[in-house]
């Protein structure tokens, strides 16, 4: 890239409808006139889905089973945030066994989502191919490894949750199914075997050239204060600008939602910043010292150090997190097998009021909040999704990146690719789609 301080002088219009290899429909629209950005938007054109509305009037026990349907990739994450929120609202304290199993299935989801994103959506950019299909032709070993690793992660979710997406065994107050010892031992063996695949994956990513772009922003995530665990399952809210912990119950002190005209999804800001980021890089920036030592080693190998302000390194942080999740899952299975599993009844509610819960899901910090009336029916719901929290930050990145790209003398096509890669690095999930065959019917 040439001198970024050069004054951009070109007129450029970029209009990407829709950004590929992200979930849902998002458009990039940029206009530059005489070097000035006259328009820059990441427009979300999906229709609202009204989950918060149709939760109202439903029984408290239904919340996780309804909200897990928000997403086919983060269904465990939604389930986790949902049970946390509803258990807070209902005064439920679950058992240690429940927490251990829920952590294991959440690790499974982090693995399957990160591996899918890295191999199938991010890697094609770096190999200069449009999708995973040409990648399967040119690098079949990479795609075979990706499929193998994805299946392992799916199976973790299936063994614990009863299904590999939309788990049926995780309920408010506990779990309705416990895995058999031999199932857990089988997963443990496969996780140990997976270390070789992970090593090759790290080698692959160490050779990829990550775009050089930095913009200071605020990174927000959960943090477990005290016991040293890298926060996925629970913790308090912290940020790189304000590391003092805030309880999830007080999440509105840290997250301000705002409607913007050009987007069907709300934007979020914090009290400290007009935009902030959540996700793997945010977790890494706040909690790197709590990663498993093997994951810290991989971060060192890949040159990732906190606080990293390069959003393209969200992919690197995802890879580092998968190393952590593999090792943490192995340790967790050992712990579960040592203490033994037994059938436990679901813990019933002791009150009905208002409660908030959170989880770190693959794309970042997810909040659920419910109010439950005296009849046990949900009377209020608020869900704040990671991608919604990232949208303002992605736009701010695009504002900072566009002049640099212009100054570099880059062509429009390359600029568009760089901007799309930026959006993809956040691994956004704009909606969840049901998909059909597009068939040429025969007369």
């Amino acid at each position: 890239m040439s001198d970024p301080n050069n004054e951009p002088t070109r007129n450029v219009s970029i209009d990407v409808k829709h950004v590929t290899r992200v979930e849902g429909h998002g458009n990039i629209s940029i206009s530059v006139r005489e070097g000035e950005i006259t328009k820059l938007q990441l427009a979300i054109v999906e229709s609202p889905r009204f989950f918060e509305s149709f939760l109202r009037g439903r029984h408290w026990s239904e919340a996780p089973h309804i909200t897990c349907r928000i997403c086919g990739i983060c269904s465990v994450g939604h389930t986790t945030a949902s049970v946390h929120a509803m258990e807070a609202a209902c005064g439920i304290q679950v058992t240690e066994q429940t927490d251990l199993l829920r952590k294991l299935i959440l690790y499974g989801e982090e693995l399957q989502s990160h591996w899918l994103h890295l191999y199938f959506l991010a890697v094609p950019d770096y190999f200069g191919v449009g999708s995973v299909i040409p990648l399967a032709e040119t690098h079949p070993e990479v795609v075979r490894r990706a499929l193998r690793m994805k299946k392992l992660a799916n199976d973790i979710c299936g063994v614990v949750g009863g299904r590999h997406i939309h788990p049926v065994a995780i309920h408010v107050g506990g779990v309705s199914h416990t895995p058999r010892d031999n199932e857990l031992l089988g997963l443990k063996q496969r996780l140990e075997d997976c270390r070789g695949d992970l090593k090759e994956m790290v080698e692959l990513f160490s050779k990829l050239e990550v775009p050089d772009f930095n913009r200071e922003t605020e990174y927000v995530s959960l943090k477990v204060v005290g016991n040293g665990e890298y926060a996925f399952y629970n913790g308090d809210i912290v940020s790189t600008k304000d590391p003092s912990p805030t309880k999830v119950a007080d999440y509105r002190q840290r997250v301000v939602e705002e409607v913007v005209q050009h987007s069907a999804a709300k934007h979020c800001r914090s009290p400290s910043s007009s935009a902030y980021a959540v996700g793997a890089l945010a977790r890494f920036n706040n909690n790197a010292e709590q990663l498993h030592p093997d994951a810290q080693k991989v971060a060192d190998e890949l040159g990732l150090k906190p606080i990293c302000f390069n959003p393209y390194h969200n992919n690197t942080a995802q890879l580092v997190e998968t190393v952590h999740c593999v090792e943490a899952s192995i340790e967790l299975i050992d712990k579960i097998l040592t203490r033994g599993l037994k059938s436990e009844p679901l813990v019933p509610p002791s009150k009905y009021e208002r409660g908030a819960g959170a989880a770190e899901v693959p794309r970042g910090l997810l909040f659920h909040e419910y109010g439950v009336g005296s009849d046990g029916k949900i009377d209020m719901a608020n869900l704040i999704i990671p991608t919604g929290q990232n949208l303002a930050n992605i736009e701010a990145d695009m504002h900072a990146l566009t002049p640099k790209l212009l100054a570099s003398g880059m062509g429009k096509e390359e600029m568009t690719l760089q901007l799309e890669m930026l959006v993809r690095a956040y691994d956004p999930c704009i909606s969840c789609a049901t998909h059909f065959l597009d068939v040429e019917w025969e007369e």
Binding site: I73, V143, L437, D438
Partner: protein, 168 residues
């Protein structure tokens, strides 16, 4: 789960999303075939893109059933069998691949690129009407479940007989 004789493994994959009304049609057909004890490995998947390749080892006939968008002349409930080896162009590849949208079209193309696609691949496409949240299929699509299941049962029997004879 049963495997056909002489390593003529048949794999039947029902694709769709549970609780999304007509989008479940592939899953319902696969359920019917499982109930009828069709001699095949029967797989139910909500995420075919990354799952199918794991079931193709030693497989010589792959059958996939999925919901399809209707058109003016092919209303909901219409179904057709597409011989993927001969007519892959009839299943138009979705331009968008995401972590959430890796459907059967992507799975087949990827399996072909990885050289694991069986020698015979039939896709049964069923035109649907409604993929909102809900358990029930719409009436026309519900009626198609029996027809498609019966057609697949007969197609598998014919294919198996032909290939068993060829081994005799």
């Amino acid at each position: 789960m049963m495997t056909a004789k002489h390593d003529n493994k048949v794999c039947i994959i029902g694709c769709g999303r549970w609780l999304r009304r007509d989008d479940q049609v592939g899953l319902f057909v696969a359920q019917r075939l499982e109930h009828d004890a069709v001699d095949a490995e029967i797989v139910f998947t909500e995420a075919p893109g990354t799952e199918i390749a794991h079931h193709l080892e030693n497989c010589r006939l792959l059958i996939a059933i999925d919901a399809a968008e209707p058109d003016e002349r092919h209303p909901p409930g219409t179904w057709q069998r597409i011989d993927y080896r001969e007519e892959s162009h009839r299943i138009r590849l979705r331009s968008r691949t995401t972590t959430h949208t890796m459907s059967i079209d992507i799975a087949l193309k990827m399996s072909q690129a990885l050289d694991v696609l069986p020698e015979t691949v039939w896709v049964y496409a069923v035109a649907i009407a409604n993929a909102d949240y809900g358990e029930a299929l719409t009436p026309d699509v519900g009626r198609a479940v029996s027809d498609v299941s019966e057609a697949i049962r007969l197609d598998v029997a014919r294919w198996t007989m032909k290939h068993e004879l060829s081994h005799a």
